[in-house]
Symmetry: D2
Subunit: 447 residues, 4 copies
């Protein structure tokens, strides 16, 4: 077995760095968890089981630090410019070494992340077969599990005008094939979800786009994905990841509410859920908490690609999310519904292009894990104290009173309610929503 073929962690890439442990908030070690204590019980569940954290393959192992204005800066030991098989194998070894050192339970991948460069769909299919077998071996060796897999339908030039929504059926057929292969591999690997991010499902100009046809094709092919999932016995969730723009001018999976309408239209409610990303939430004009609350309310919650944008740059910066307050607000919406089921918190986040040390990868993930853990503790505190819930119950208590019940009763009508408002000369008054009081509670929950 060649050096790049090593399936065990003999020649570690991250040899300088010891496995990351919980050391508590007062530790002086910058390569330790301060808040993420996986066995600590929170709201009756272990932290690890609440958060189900995953490392993503693409940002950490495939990206070389290039951006639209400049070449890669990273020069990782496992990369070569040809992205040949030996590079792919070295990358996989490094990835599992990293997952293990972080001590996080899950990872996520695209088909092309784990394979060498492939000249044709046929080559991709066979390369991916080999790669996914190797992933299985690594999973067994390390105990790291697959949170979700996904097919990359946006990087190859053929997908410039979309994958499942491409104007050309030949391209769409290639997309279908990649999905089939990747869904089946995800199933074989015990993956807990399968994700579709519609990076190029959208349009650059309406002038060349048949919106109706593209969405109908999308609905049709998505139904086939669901049907196939059941056929092969995959028990995980099928997830769509909302994003409003970028790379396309407009993307069909704009936000959670848009996807709800789309799923409803094609009879897929209950079959397809969402993979929410904070950076995509803010790009679509929503808070992270809004997207989570919407998904919970509409019974669409799947998984979370945890990251953050910044509010000065209008593109997907995919930074590690250190905004504990923002995550707390999202968890306050998520946890009462039972939290994540098959989903997890996948670090769809990358170190900045200037952070070209291997150690930076650890700092990024440690900071992200600690922010999640700290927010979990804060949200749990808020939920256990119950003040938010109490205030809400009081605020809506009128709906349990006589007027409220009448208005919601069967047989009530516009006329019956309007008549009662008139006959009783109803003259409703506004009561304070106590927003500042509530926001202070959140601030105080963060320890």
């Amino acid at each position: 077995m060649a050096d790049t073929d090593r399936m065990t962690l003999k020649d570690p890439v991250f040899g300088d760095i010891a496995p990351i442990k919980f050391e508590g908030p007062d530790s002086e070690n910058t390569l330790a968890y301060r808040y993420y204590n996986k066995d600590q019980m929170v709201l009756g569940k272990r932290m690890e089981d609440h958060l189900r954290m995953a490392v993503c393959y693409w940002h950490t192992f495939c990206w070389d630090g290039f951006d639209i204005f400049g070449a890669g800066t990273f020069d990782r030991p496992w990369q070569n410019s040809a992205n040949d098989r030996s590079a792919a194998d070295a990358k996989m070894a490094a990835a599992f070494e990293f997952f293990t050192k972080l001590g996080l339970p899950y990872y996520c991948f695209h088909d092309v992340d784990v394979t060498e460069a492939s000249a044709t769909p046929d080559e991709l299919s066979s390369n991916f077969k080999r790669a996914s077998d190797r992933l299985g071996t690594y999973q067994e060796e390390t105990g790291v599990k697959l949170l979700w897999g996904t097919a990359n339908l946006f990087s190859h030039p053929r997908y410039a005008a979309g994958g499942l929504t491409n104007p050309d059926p030949e391209v769409a057929a290639c997309a279908v094939r990649q999905i089939r292969d990747c869904l089946e591999a995800t199933h074989r690997l015990g993956g807990e979800n399968y994700v579709l991010w519609g990076g190029r499902e959208g349009y650059d100009t309406l002038l060349n786009t048949d919106l109706t046809r593209e969405l109908e094709n999308f609905g049709r092919f998505l139904s086939m994905v669901v049907e196939h999932k059941h056929k092969i016995g995959f028990k995980g969730k099928i997830l769509i990841e909302p994003k409003p723009h970028e790379p396309m001018y407009h993307q069909y999976d704009f936000d959670t509410a848009t996807i709800y309408g789309f799923l409803s239209r094609f009879g897929l409610l209950g079959e397809v859920h969402v993979n929410i990303e904070p950076n995509h939430a803010t790009l679509s004009g929503h808070s992270f908490a809004h997207e989570v609350a919407t998904a919970v309310s509409l019974d669409m919650m799947g998984s979370i690609d945890i990251n953050s944008g910044n509010y000065q740059n209008g593109w997907d910066t995919d930074q590690f999310n250190l905004d504990v307050r923002d995550i707390t607000l999202a968890l306050v919406e998520l946890l009462p519904s039972g939290g994540l089921d098959t989903g997890g918190f996948n670090f769809d986040a990358k170190v900045r292009r200037q952070s070209n040390d291997l150690a930076d990868l650890f700092h990024g993930h440690i900071g992200g894990a600690d922010a999640l853990a700290r927010a979990l503790l804060a949200a749990a505190d808020l939920i256990e104290r119950g003040e938010i819930n109490d205030l809400k119950e009081k605020r809506y208590s009128g709906w349990n009173g006589s007027l409220g019940k009448k208005m919601l009763a069967e047989g009530a009508s516009l006329a019956s309610i309007a008549d009662q408002a008139a006959s009783d000369s109803l003259n409703g008054k506004h009561s304070s929503g106590r927003q500042e009081y509530l926001e202070n509670l959140v601030a105080r929950s963060i320890k």
Copy 2:
């Protein structure tokens, strides 16, 4: 009858200004239409019948030029600070004088626009009864028609936390009463649509909001509106007006796609349509054309509040829309579907706060009308030439070929398509979307 009671146009407020006429592009008269020639035939229909333009009551007759940082600048002859009955009557006379001078066929109003200030819901109800009777008389006298009416459920302090989605049933009941009264008045006045703009239907913070309950109430009460419409025999459309934010931090009627999902959830598809506003479109991260295309594709198109924001200010500036290219792009999406049915182009636009001359009101509307007319001519030219359509047909022609048909055939599955892609070694290629060519066609259509 007191002076402010005049029901005929004896004492014109706009006496200096002659009725606005079409004089063609080369006219030197700034108070004439250059493109809006109502009887000119375009795509087989009179311009007036395509555009069905309306003047809105609120921006032009009720707003006094105040903004959040300063007091009113306008000092209109029909306004007084008490907004008493004499002011309301003077305003109505001025409004119909204005509608008539512009020679546009329609107007739109909120209940509180046409009434004096009312101390209670009971007073509002009776004041509005009187006012709507007067509107009827003016309509008869002038021939001006009602495009739509709407109840204002956002200005009164009671609606600070919403109308139909208010936490307090007593407030919601007041909202229901206003809607009932206003829907019935709209019906009596021959209005062609009834609009709900959910200005305060949304939230300022999730911390005090029961999202699920509020949306369920909203769905329930909206169903009652539809039921009542049928009961009273109103044939017009019920319209929801999307807007993402402002005045609330988040509004439930975020955009057309969100409303589609909401209507679908409450079984209201086909019963409720949308009133699209360009400024709201851009605030929600969409182009005007996108919102129109989405509504057309989902069979939700109702009416248009024509206006424009600017791209430097992140709030609803409601300017007159002079962006002929942008309107053309929207019309290219709208016209092939048959165009507006009961809807029209309502100038939900206001002159700038610095434009405190009465003449400015005319310049605003004339500019807006001419931009619409010019865009109509451009869009008609594009449609008649057929080049956009031809390119689209060619671009999607693969779906009529053997592979496309197979993929869309009953019984096709993820596996059958993937297998075919594999057995045929399909290797789809990207073809140019010709965006620049198409954009040039649009530029050239604008004469």
Copy 3:
């Protein structure tokens, strides 16, 4: 003396609420400070002396909760709709009661905040004389001090096209008079700064604007303000408050860097400083920390209007700032320069329009004060540990080496440096900026 004339706190408006005290992070009292402990020493100075917090008069005492879509919701005991003298006096009593109960050392005002409605500039001048005398009496009675005063040159309709930059000299003369009166009153009251916020100094359209002339007038009149300050012996700072837009389409005082150029052009560097507001920073595409760092670097730092926008709404929401991390990042830039001199942290923040209880005003300010205090503790910790500073020193250490020194030496030229780069075949490499490591340090500093 009538009831509304009370100069002492006999009939408290906020009688239910006890003075706010520091009780530590574990207090269960929501009307107590958890972090703001005014006498606690931080980096060798009392917290109170670091933060110099001020309550603003306008948002808390003048605003009635109206917004552009709706009427006031607050119905404060000290307000009446006429805004007559008795209301102005009651407001002043309530304001000083509030300042005192919060135990914060400073307040800020506009001339029109403290006076009744005035029909003419003459009336305003005399009303303001009376009001400012009363402010002096209250200051003596309560010990509350004036952080800054300012003239409101944006609310009156005359200022629709600007104050000092108005096209009409008569309007500009009125603005000059208000400034003179207000600057002198600020001086008499021992105010520590005088602020100019150019709310209408800008334009709505370039088509009617002589940019060059307006900026020259602005520069000229600002020079006169500086000259007058020296003439009357005012030792405080003259401050301009940057804001990019709103209410105007474009405002001249766009951001700190723009103001630097303007001051430089008119020879006013060193004479005029900036009053930075986080919400204005973010509206102009900058972080709060960026504006502070820029002001510190350019020696323009004056004072801070502490508040926050939210990232979903594109207008000035002026919320209480609870984002401890964001404030910490700004303080890390501010404190090493010596911190605020005559400036302070003025709560230019308002409770939400739905928060119509008097208690909400306290919750808003308490939350804001605690966030500042907590950020101060975090920033002090970062500074004392010195890790950020050490990393920066190391990162730039090359400039102390032989090459760096040569490049910075007198006589170095493009050619001399380029020649050396060529002769030494210099081939510089990138080193990690360690952003994630640094961001984790900040996260960990927040206790």
Copy 4:
């Protein structure tokens, strides 16, 4: 001479496409100019001399269609993946063929655009020497001239933390060398300007940035550029290109006003001007016209990188600008100052990634050229009619009256003006700014 070495246009790459000619608005030929008629006299000057259009090398010849989510789509005949010498030579031949076919007078380039991939700065220097000699030959053969040259200080990994503002002097020295070489080559080639776009001059986080030092270095090295320009006798302008963000989180050359302050600080006013780009203007919260008006007012106008973003995507999309109204508004600000001097309109614009036909490159540039020409005609019409100017003169006429003159007179002071306002009881009123009237004039000027 090998095929890729051809210095004459023997084997045209764009053989299918005839030279682009002016055919007038009614031409049916999509590969013709409809408005750009280079010899047509406008305001006393030939169109070509007004617009001085240039094709940029990078977007059209170097970019392969890759974006951050996907690989190149273009597969141009002159590209190979190694970017070796033969590719560089083929690219240059294609570029001059394209320039010539379009019939536009100028082009622009970065040093790395015209050279093959270079392993070291030494190699780049020598490759660039050869390439710039070849450019000279092509210029002579074709008559195409150089509008400006620039050094690419952002694509190489060494520049990840900046060029002239890099923390490491060794990197800064490499940047200086590239600038020296490129400025001298630009001079040799008769270039009319030299541009610095500070793509990486800025920061990703303040936590690792010494803002003061970086800006001082920037000022120092820029002074050296100016000194060198004079030393070598370069008569063209040195231009900085403002951009607020991207690729960096924050860029120092945020906008024109920021650059004014920077130049003022380092004594470089009059020596350095700006290269304004509409897409950068809008990313910084300004209109294109605002940036032009600011540059004209501050005497900083240099050149224009004509393009456009769209208002839905928050990054630099560099589209061809077809917004005739927006360009007209900018030209109305530009032309009265004398228009462009050494500057021109450089198409810093790229066809969409989906537009992978060679013909798309022509459609993009033709559309862009026609939009410029059409806007020029509109702006000239507005200027010749004089209505905008007249309205402005009237609006500011008070400054020529007695009060205005007194306020501007030497010796006037805050006190003298305030005293006069008081003694005359001045009570200025607002007059309409007539914005809608003016906007209609602009609409009507576009034929």
